[in-house]
Amino acid sequence: MSLESSARRAASSAAATAAGPLPPSAASIELCGVRLAGPILNGSGTFDAIAAWRAFGDELVERFPFHAFVSKTITLEPRPGNPPPRLWETPAGLLNSIGLPNKGLEGFLAEDLPVLARLPAPLVVSVMGVDRDELARLVGAVGAREEVALIELNFSCPNVETGLEMGGDPSEAARAVESVRPLTATPLIAKLSPAAADRAAVAAAAVDAGADAVSLINTLRGAALDPRTRRPWLGGATGGLSGPAIRAIALHQVAAVARRLDVPVIGMGGVASGEHAADLLSAGATAVAVGTDSFRDPGAGRRIAAELGALERSHPSEGPRETLDLPPRHGKIPA
């Protein structure tokens, strides 16, 4: 083991185990009028705070890992999710076919929301509807609850009316946002699909239709075969790829969308360190979500926030800018 890796391990362990509330990683930020103590969120569906409260006890809320908490996506009706197996480990990543298991709107409002409202961070609720009517009922009901600071619209879903993915093209996204915008004053975040041909155009259409922010990237579709049978491994046949394997794609897509918009962008995709978070912020993101890395380390959000804070103290940020439009400037090659 190298001294350097040992020192880094100790420092990162110390940062992650420091007592007390999550330290602001840099300055606090404002996201659609909501004040967050820092820019680190969880990606929807990658951290179940209620389950974690059972696993970690009150330490979860005493040392909460995120500056805002994003719920798992809820749908109008309860869903059991996809049949197992649901997971496949890939090179530096994870393929999942979970299938949005959730209690449905009613179960969420009655059982989960009162608990999530007690977390020491603003609450973002993620919703997905298969048509505009479903989406409207979800946004109407969730938007009426004052515990909910922001609503995220999960657009990685086929619209059963048109057969097109809601996040798949600009007009689909615009129609979906337009139909729910009048129903609530709660800020709306459009969670974009990385599979859209022109993500920036979809993002711009969503914002023109009334979205207050966008988030990306969602997982990328992939597949795996059982090595013994050469049949699909996953119960859902295909799955969404996440983790470090998609980080470079996330940086590009976040930069391309942020360049086009003047509303906040929440960037995510393979973030596993303060450096990675700083990359997305440099590319124009206002906030950064941690997803799959929480599976490797339940305290990943807290560690990444601490690393980002240290980084920003030693190298003050020039603020979000169109990083990928700048001419390359090289330091020493980190080989």
């Binding site: 990658t46 696993a55 006890g57 997971l87 090179p91 059982e111 599976f295 380390d297």
Partner: protein, 290 residues
Amino acid sequence: MTSSPAAGRALGGAEEGAEEPRTPAPLGRRCAAVIGVEDHGAYRLIWASDTRGPPDPCPGQFYMLATADRWGSEDGRPYLPRAFSHARVVSDPAPRVAFLLDAVGPGTERLGALEPGEELWLSGPFGVGFRPVPASDHRPVLVGGGIGAAPILALADELDSGTTVLLGFRSAAHAHGAELFAATVAVATDDGSRGRHALVTDLLREELDRDPEAVVYACGPPPMLEAVRALCAARGTQAQLALESGMACGFGACFGCVVPTRNGFVRLCLDGPVLDADRLETGLFEGAGQ
């Protein structure tokens, strides 16, 4: 038990009024030093100094492990930590936890190659462990198959030294795992190279013939657990099964480890890995024990 409002029935999972055998985990992963390695035939027991972990994990709970160095080598795997029930714990003067390893893939190969002085990332204990029934009511019978002997050992360490333990292994090389038990244990091997040439469920059937009131605690490969479940169901015998499923996180975050029960899917890492056998229609399901 945690004092959090999230514990217990209100949030799904545990049964009303039942105290869950769950010791909460510290939040976040921690670095632990490997302080000892013991070879037991085909298996290796790795001892970790878990100074920041609880001294009292419940038998049947589990930890997520990854080596601190060279996790993710060729082909970028392993990437995720791997789930292991602790096989043994010593709490004094500081918590030391032992894990039983059998190299079956890139993660277990890397973990199994750990040497004293190296470090591993560890989080846990997670999940719900075995729920001991008072011995005065029913005599416990412990059943372990292969690497599934690990949580059975942790449970045996907490019970009377005279507790009945039945172990099944592939071969004599694997049957060295039985050396870890303080009590006299009955051993069966698939090839007859050690102990009885039988399945461990044959030993269980004979045991239940002798004592129909026994309570069964079992861990092992899916076909064994299914045989135990079916045997106990046919006789109305209470059984608790420690199951296995592919996991990414270990603390309910990813929803990846679900198993089908009579009441729908449950997350094995949160409501298991120990489940009452009568909650299951089968111990064999897609994704079991990869």
